[in-house]
């Protein structure tokens, strides 16, 4: 079974991902692309298991707001770890659109990007198979204080000072 980093713990993962055009299976936790999700929401069939949304980093988050109430998780797929758009998408999903479910980074996700991803609101990470999950977990504790507000991680040091 796949192991992922979720909420700071290394844990087993039950989720699968639906390829475009595939039918949603009757059972199991599954991440579904937007087109397939829209189709299923238009005519939902009874099934066992949870549904998540699978999008790429190029997604315009405003276009998925209407489906957020129907999913318990959103996976953002990184074709390249260098694509910075997912960081903004995550922050908007958390703060602007109030998404409280699992926000998962998948694809080309490396231990050295996990800290910033987490700060931006991702709470689950499918680390690329050839990389160390343990290194990724340790990376969450890289910094104990931050210079700006964000969605998670160390406190904004200046705000703490000002509040005290």
């Amino acid at each position: 079974m796949r192991r992922i980093l979720r909420d700071r713990e290394i844990t087993d993962d039950t989720w699968t991902k639906l390829a475009p055009g595939e039918a949603i299976p009757a059972t199991g936790d599954v991440f579904v692309p937007l087109t397939e999700l829209h189709a299923w929401l238009a005519a939902p069939t009874p099934r066992e298991g949870r549904i998540g949304l699978l999008v790429g980093t190029e997604v315009e988050v405003e276009t998925i707001v209407d489906v957020l109430p129907h999913v318990v998780a959103v996976a953002i797929h990184y074709k390249s770890f260098r694509d910075g758009r997912g960081y903004t998408s995550a922050r908007l999903l958390r703060t602007r659109f109030g998404f409280r479910g699992e926000l998962r980074a998948v694809g080309d996700v490396l231990p050295d990007q996990v800290f910033y991803l987490w700060r931006c609101g991702f709470n689950a990470f499918e680390i690329r198979a050839d990389k160390s999950l343990e290194t990724a977990r340790r990376a969450l504790d890289t910094f104990s204080v931050a210079y700006q507000p964000a969605e998670a991680g160390p406190a904004w040091g200046r705000r703490r000072l000002l509040a005290s």
Partner: protein, 555 residues
């Protein structure tokens, strides 16, 4: 100057620990070079032609004498005994070994320095007017705000993988922009809308490189409380919509051009509206906390020195008089001046400085100043607080170390990129051309030509800022031969302009002659020696220059 508190210390120390561990994983092969590249870049480490180059961050150019001594010590111990001041007020070492990097960063951290975000597709070192805090013409010292922006930008989790690099510059001088804010991704001018009502005029989308573009005003007044949220809104729009398919079209200037400034402004405003009253509201107490670090040093009460300095410009000691003419700048405190220290020793690479020279400047800053030194974006240094009565002493001390060339602001004060001698991108050499130009003109000639800027880039990426040189040189490769395209009329200041190409590119062997012809044509056509090169060029246009350069020098 800004002094670290426990938060700053922890962040920099934790960065050193992080990078030490990352280097170990790179050396063990756990991280590939491709994966390591953005990591090392955001720690200031470039792979150049021969070795690693390390770029140390000098926020807004300001250093203490202890910091400068540390830079000298690192140059001796880990490099070849010298460093190179860059066009963004940073210091570069050209011969660094990867295995030494964690120790170098730890030593920098011991004097409150780092190399964070001096490279890579992130928000780079924030630059500011090199006369900030001492200039007579500024309405407010921009450095406290620059420091606040530095902190906000440091390890900003959302903006570490932007489409491309991102540079911010500030000035507090309303009519004499020495920070080139109009050719930055974001330029910030401190402005006063009404008495006591200060805020920021925000320029966006300026830049040089392959596509030189003069920035535009995206908002004419942002109140202080809203500065960080407004910057965050700009960065967010850029991060979402900036092009990622072509690195040469990825800077924010291309997005601003594609959308048009009105649409870009609309998008920024829409984003800003949603975040402006959020957590990023800039608290007065935080501004005051940072500003206290920049309170004026303990100046003595001295009589005005303006007449005295004017007298020194006419000193019978001609060498000293010339140096005073080019190197001494008026100061807002009576009796004090700012001294520009030339790092353009004729025959040496522009901006290069030996460990011994760094230590000498540090000692001088301790002796006659308040232990502060500023790096300029024109690759020189400033001693910001010198009592005018000490000018002879300062000149002697600098001259003894080869740092008193009377050429700041002249045709020998050349900005040059590393060029083909160091850089993998370059088409032609820059530094040797700069050296040949500087050696061509003696002090008499430099005095005759007056204020003129020459800037040289070894390729179209324009790191030598040739587009905004009064005289610009762009190196190109013509079937293996080095040629230089000549542009005239550029300026990075309030009268910002992109230089115009004069004519066909000129062979390396003829380029110094061509520049001399350009300068002699200026002397011939100027109305008086009070009309600068740029003023004359703008008045008479390119024709006489073209005729003189190409009449005897067909390309």
């Amino acid at each position: 100057m800004y002094k670290y508190d426990d938060i700053d210390e922890r962040i920099v120390a934790e960065r050193v620990t992080q990078f030490r561990e990352q280097v170990a994983r790179r050396l063990s092969g756990e991280i590939s070079e491709d994966e390591f590249k953005p990591i090392r870049l955001q720690n200031g480490l470039y792979l150049q032609l021969h070795a690693y180059m390390l770029r140390v961050s000098i926020p807004y150019g300001l250093m203490s004498s202890d910091q400068l001594r540390m830079l000298a010590s690192i140059a001796r111990r880990y490099d070849r005994g010298y460093g190179h001041f860059s066009t963004r007020q940073n210091l570069q070492y050209n011969w660094i070994r990867l295995v030494d990097m964690p120790d170098i960063l730890a030593q920098l951290a011991s004097v409150e320095m780092h190399a964070i975000q001096t490279s890579g597709n992130c928000i780079r070192n924030v630059t500011a007017d090199h006369l900030a805090g001492v200039a007579r013409d500024e309405i407010e010292d921009p450095r406290p705000i620059a420091e606040i922006i530095r902190q906000w930008a440091t390890f900003h989790p959302e903006f570490a993988f932007l489409p491309r690099k991102f540079k911010i510059a500030l000035t507090g001088a309303p009519s004499n922009d020495r920070a080139a804010v109009r050719v930055h991704d974001i330029g910030i001018r401190i402005v006063e809308r009404a008495p006591g009502q200060r805020g920021f005029e925000i320029w966006v989308g300026g830049g040089l490189g392959r596509t030189p573009i003069i920035g535009e005003v995206v908002r004419d007044f942002v109140p202080r409380r809203d500065l960080l949220s407004y910057l965050e809104a700009i960065l967010r729009v850029y991060n979402r919509w900036g092009r990622r398919d072509n690195k040469f079209k990825a800077r924010i200037k291309i997005l601003v051009q594609a959308l048009g400034i009105a649409e870009f402004r609309k998008q920024v405003d829409a984003e800003w509206e949603l975040i402006k009253d959020g957590e990023l509201v800039l608290d007065d107490a935080e501004v005051e906390r940072v500003r206290a670090h920049f309170s004026p040093p303990a100046y003595e009460t001295l009589p005005s020195c303006d007449a005295g300095v004017a007298g020194k410009r006419l000193s019978p000691n001609r060498d000293f008089a010339r140096w005073v003419q080019t190197s001494v700048v008026a100061h807002k405190i009576p009796g004090y001046v700012a001294v520009l220290v030339s790092l353009k020793t004729p025959g040496a690479p522009p901006g290069d400085v030996t460990a011994e020279q760094m230590e000498a400047v540090a000692a001088l800053a301790d002796e006659v100043g308040f232990s502060q030194i500023v790096a300029t974006h024109t690759q020189n240094l400033v001693l910001p607080d010198v009592p005018a009565t000490k000018l002879e002493l300062v000149w002697e001390r600098l001259r003894a170390k080869g740092l008193a060339a009377p050429n700041v602001g002249t045709a020998a004060d050349i900005i040059a990129c590393p060029g083909l001698d160091y850089c993998t991108l370059a088409n032609a050499r820059s530094i040797p051309v700069a050296q040949r130009i500087a050696l061509r003109f003696d002090d008499e000639a430099l005095a005759r030509y007056g204020d003129v800027s020459i800037k040289i880039s070894g390729c179209i990426n324009a790191c030598g800022h040739h587009h905004v040189g009064n005289i610009g040189l762009l190196g190109i490769d013509k079937s293996g031969e080095e040629f230089y395209q000549l542009t005239l009329g550029g300026s990075p200041s309030d009268d910002v302009a992109i230089g115009k190409i004069l004519g066909p590119a000129i062979a390396s062997a003829d380029i110094v002659d061509a520049i001399e012809r350009v300068l002699e044509t200026y002397v011939e056509f100027r109305t008086s020696d009070r009309e600068s090169f740029l003023e004359t060029y703008r008045r008479v246009g390119p024709t006489p220059f073209k005729e003189s350069v190409y009449a005897t020098h067909p390309a």
